[in-house]
């Protein structure tokens, strides 16, 4: 059924259709609307049976989900940014224990400086936590990915983060096609845990493992994720059969057939990139041979699919809302790994951190520069060099320059996002 609704609401309704049994909630922007909506459904009784637990921290949220999942309940929670970091220990633990928890990450920057706006720093900080990480491009995809995530997680006994851009998706009102309960029930079987805490068949979960077996345990986690590389496209195909639309999968390509330059990105920015490419491809604009590769599944990283998508291009530009401080990009490093030995030129563009708008105007300029191999290996899109250089000079001159963020704001004179 087509509905116009906020992204958070769409995700909440999709999650509800998945019949979660335990939901843990701790408020942090921009995921709050999701759990608020779910909480209301539980309280009014439309989502039942389900326990909705207002916990005292994200650490507790993930821990409650761990307990619930280990006791055989389909468990869900949502978080973002600092919240994800605060639960980080439990995030690793959930995957280590093989518990199929589904968690929405409404992607948001990580402080300091504290910032509530979107980028991918939070989710990517947990890229090696052992969770599967799926990135939604649109609200429809966010909704669909949650349905697929429960099935995938429970089949693999691994937890999954469904990542969606904070505010840009979570707070955007868009038309979505909301599946029926019957469709979801047909697609998503009941949760049959691989291991469960049950007095009639006791087990000890969470043993201490020493050097004699630890590597094997870790390798098995890797093997599981490799297995997911087969399952994800298969489940996406099944999804299409039931719901009638393409959603999920490992990667999506757009106009890459003859592309010499391929932009690689994740999340909602793919929309802006596609619009830019459509414009660049117009004959009146020069008919640029440019396309885009969207990464839906970041973990496991679909090396083969990425390599296949890029193999006929001459170059790729990774545009990512994340940053490996002291190196450059995070996504870019992964993509470069996929194309090792293929002789491709590759560029890293760090963009949109902390909610900095990524405009078509900037992308046009960037992509043209890229096509001409005029980019530095690492580019910071729309960086205010004036402000940066001033601060660097200040720091050279004085030992005690005060907090960087405040100094920059003073230089800019207003909230940083204004001019962009």
């Amino acid at each position: 059924m087509l509905k116009q609704m906020e992204g958070s609401r769409a995700v909440a309704e999709a999650v509800a259709l998945c019949r979660p049994e335990v939901i843990c909630a701790y408020p942090i922007s921009p995921q709050t609307h999701i759990v608020e909506a779910l909480g209301e459904m539980v309280k009014e009784g439309s989502l039942a049976p389900c326990e909705f637990i207002n916990v005292e921290s994200e650490f507790a949220a993930m821990s409650v989900a761990i307990g619930a999942s280990a006791a055989g309940a389909r468990s869900y929670t949502a978080t973002a940014s600092q919240g994800l970091l605060f639960m980080a220990e439990a995030v690793f633990n959930a995957s280590g224990l093989g518990l199929p928890i589904v968690m929405t990450v409404a992607n948001r920057a990580i402080g300091a400086p504290i910032n509530i706006w979107n980028d991918h720093s939070d989710a990517l900080s947990q890229r090696d936590s052992g969770w599967l990480q799926l990135f939604a491009e649109t609200n429809q995809e966010a909704l669909d990915l949650h349905i697929q995530a429960f099935r995938l997680a429970e089949e693999l006994s691994l937890p999954i983060m469904v990542c969606m851009d904070g505010f840009i998706l979570t707070h955007a009102y868009e038309r979505v096609d909301m599946p029926t309960q019957a469709q979801v029930d047909a697609y998503l079987p009941r949760y049959e845990p691989r291991q469960v805490l049950d007095p009639s068949d006791p087990v000890s979960i969470g043993a201490m493992v020493g050097p004699e077996a630890f590597m094997e345990v870790r390798y098995l986690a890797h093997a599981k994720q490799m297995e997911a590389l087969q399952l994800i496209p298969a489940y996406a195909a099944e999804f299409k059969a039931v719901f009638g639309r393409d959603s999920g999968g490992l990667t999506h390509t757009y106009r890459t057939e003859d592309a010499e330059t391929i932009i690689v990105a994740m999340g909602s920015v793919l929309g802006t990139i596609k619009d830019t490419i459509d414009e660049m491809r117009q004959p009146e604009n020069g008919g640029h041979k440019i396309g885009v590769l969207g990464i839906t599944c970041f973990r496991p990283f679909p090396i083969a699919a990425v390599a296949a998508a890029l193999k006929h291009a001459k170059r790729f530009v990774v545009l990512e809302k994340s940053m490996a401080v002291g190196l450059g990009g995070i996504l870019a490093v992964n993509v470069r790994m996929a194309v090792t030995g293929m002789g491709l030129k590759g560029y890293t563009v760090v963009a949109g951190l902390g909610g900095r708008a990524i405009t078509k105007k900037s992308l046009h300029a960037l992509f043209r520069q890229g096509e001409q191999d005029g980019l530095e290996p690492v580019t910071f899109l729309d960086l205010d060099w004036n402000v940066v250089n001033k601060q660097l000079e200040r720091e050279k001159a004085h030992r005690r320059t005060g907090p960087v963020a405040e100094a920059l704001l003073r230089d800019v004179g207003v909230v940083g996002a204004r001019n962009y």
Partner: protein, 540 residues
């Protein structure tokens, strides 16, 4: 369940890990000697019979008791219970009233007509027992149990020896004495009354393989007191024996008893009961030096007996006596002061100690008598092979309990001797001192007070002064026993082991250690209330 590798494990699988290999000390269950048992001259296994009484099985308790002593109803009245003096419970609250439980069991047996267990098959051996006092009865009983024929020759008209002729009725009712003797007769002990043995070797010729001498100390020691004709000077033995005759001795209104032992007390209290207005004990030393038991002195004082300490009788006149005050020298010996006092007295009873009549032993080769006592070896045998002795004849501890112990020990020795062996008592385990125990676990429970006859009746009748316990409080008293040194199945070791390494074997079967897992921490030993576990170093 397809469990995740290494992370999820099968329940209880740690049994594969034998932590017993960590052990440097190993716990061992032991049976230590309870101090009550150690103190009992009769060698009773007091803890053992109390253990049975604790569960309310009085017959089993009585049967355990009579393995060592056939006279529990008597002993429960007349024993001075050194067991209670040794009792570890004194360090928790007060000693267990062992004596009162013993009496309860003895009385139960009499009331319910319990018989001794059937003796062992007859051996055909015959043993002559001289005297039917506690030593003789005990020896005869034990010999009978072992299958030997025991024949007692008793000089007196009734069986019981000094129990009958030396202990007043108010302490030992005669029906109790008679009942326990009758049980022995029923058991097969043969008693020939008024059969004095005047020559032991001659008597043995009458088909006996051995003899046990258990003659009591019936002969009073005398002291020379210048006396006028009119004053009556009697001896304690005669007075007490007289109480068993047709008419009670005539002592008068004012009676002076000379001496400081239990017999002196007995006589004074007897005199009071016979109607004496005044019964005065004259004793040359102080109360703390008095050989009589404190509780008996106390009871006597309660009954109105007065005691003149530090006094000796210098002479006895027609109706009074002259007493000289004494003073203790720096060594604690009484010395005359030259200070005199006259006390009215219708009679003076000397209670200065007794001797046994040893005339039957004249000309027995090898037999040695020293200071009125027959010398015996560790197996109670005299210098003459086959002649054993015990009780008053063989020691200065002249109590019923000691005599019963002698009788038992001698019987065992005789049994061995009849088989051509030498009796060697089994080695005694170490004593269960309170330091080896953990008395924390015993809940506070003060000793049950026995009912005491009211004072008026005590001064005028020969009714028993000290009452018995009824069943409930006998049970209570039995359960005050801390079972020192002997497992009483409290489950502590089973419960306190952090490694579940103690196996509970079920009621009456105690416990055993599972050395596969016991790490040797020693908590079981530390928390064993009764000290029945000890830690020993592992060999390797």
């Amino acid at each position: 369940m397809d469990k995740p590798f290494a992370i999820t494990l099968d329940p209880g699988s740690s049994l594969a890990n034998r932590t017993g290999s960590w052990r440097t000390f190993r716990p061992e269950y032991v049976d230590r000697l309870p101090p009550c048992n150690a103190a009992c001259p009769a060698g009773e296994n007091i803890q053992g019979w109390l253990f049975r009484a604790e569960s309310g099985d009085y017959e089993k308790a009585w049967r355990a008791l009579v393995e060592n002593n056939p006279l529990p109803a008597i002993m429960g009245r007349v024993c001075y219970h050194p067991c209670e003096g040794g009792c570890n419970r004194q360090q928790v609250d007060s000693a267990v009233g062992i004596n009162s439980v013993e009496r309860f069991l003895g009385d139960e047996a009499n009331k319910r007509g319990w018989k001794f267990d059937t003796p062992a098959a007859a051996t055909g051996r015959r043993v002559l027992v001289v005297g039917s006092g506690p030593a003789g009865l005990s020896a005869a009983y034990q010999l009978t149990r072992m299958g030997h024929k025991a024949v007692i020759h008793e000089a007196g008209p009734l069986a019981g020896g000094m129990m009958r002729f030396g202990i007043p009725k108010y302490r030992l009712p005669r029906e109790v004495l008679d009942a326990e003797i009758k049980r022995l007769l029923d058991f097969g002990v043969e008693i020939h009354l008024q059969t004095k043995v005047s020559n032991v070797l001659d008597a043995m010729m009458d088909g006996f393989d051995a003899v046990f001498l258990g003659v009591g100390a019936h002969i009073a020691k005398r002291a020379y007191i210048p006396a006028g004709d009119a004053n009556k000077i009697l001896d304690a033995v005669a007075v007490l024996r007289g109480m068993e005759g047709e008419s009670a001795p005539m002592l008068g209104r004012k009676v002076v008893v000379y001496g400081g032992g239990n017999t002196a007390i007995d006589v004074a209290r007897t005199a009071k009961r016979l109607g004496a207005e005044e019964a005065i004990i004259v004793y040359r030393r102080t109360r703390d030096k008095m050989p009589a038991h404190d509780f008996e002195v106390e009871e006597a004082l309660q009954e109105g007996i007065s005691i003149k300490w530090l006094s000796t009788i210098k002479e006895a006149g027609e109706s009074d006596i002259m007493v000289e005050k004494m003073a203790l020298d720096d060594k604690g010996f009484p010395q005359p002061t030259g200070e005199f006092e006259r006390i009215e007295a219708d009679s003076v009873v000397l209670a200065l100690g007794q001797d046994a009549d040893l005339s039957l032993l004249e000309n027995v080769p090898g037999l040695v008598v020293d200071k009125g006592l027959i010398q015996v070896d560790a197996a109670m045998m005299t210098g003459h092979p086959g002649v054993f002795a015990g009780g008053d004849m063989a020691g200065n501890d002249r109590t019923v309990t000691v005599a019963v112990g002698h009788g038992k020990k001698a019987a065992r020795a005789i049994d061995a001797w009849l088989r051509g062996e030498k009796y060697a008592p089994p080695p005694k385990p170490e004593i269960a001192t309170v330091e080896r125990m953990n008395p924390w676990y015993y809940s506070d429970a003060p000793k049950t007070v026995r009912p005491v006859l009211d004072i008026i009746r005590r001064q005028s009748t020969f009714e028993e002064v000290l009452g018995g316990l009824d069943e409930t409080n006998a049970l209570f008293e039995a359960r005050r026993c801390m079972s020192c040194g002997n497992c009483f199945e409290c489950d502590n070791c089973y419960g306190v082991c952090p490694d579940n390494a103690v196996i509970k074997r079920g009621p009456g079967k105690r416990f055993q250690f599972n050395f596969d897992y016991c790490k040797g921490c020693g908590i079981c030993a530390a928390e064993c209330p009764c000290g029945a576990i000890r830690m020993v170093p592992e060999e390797n």
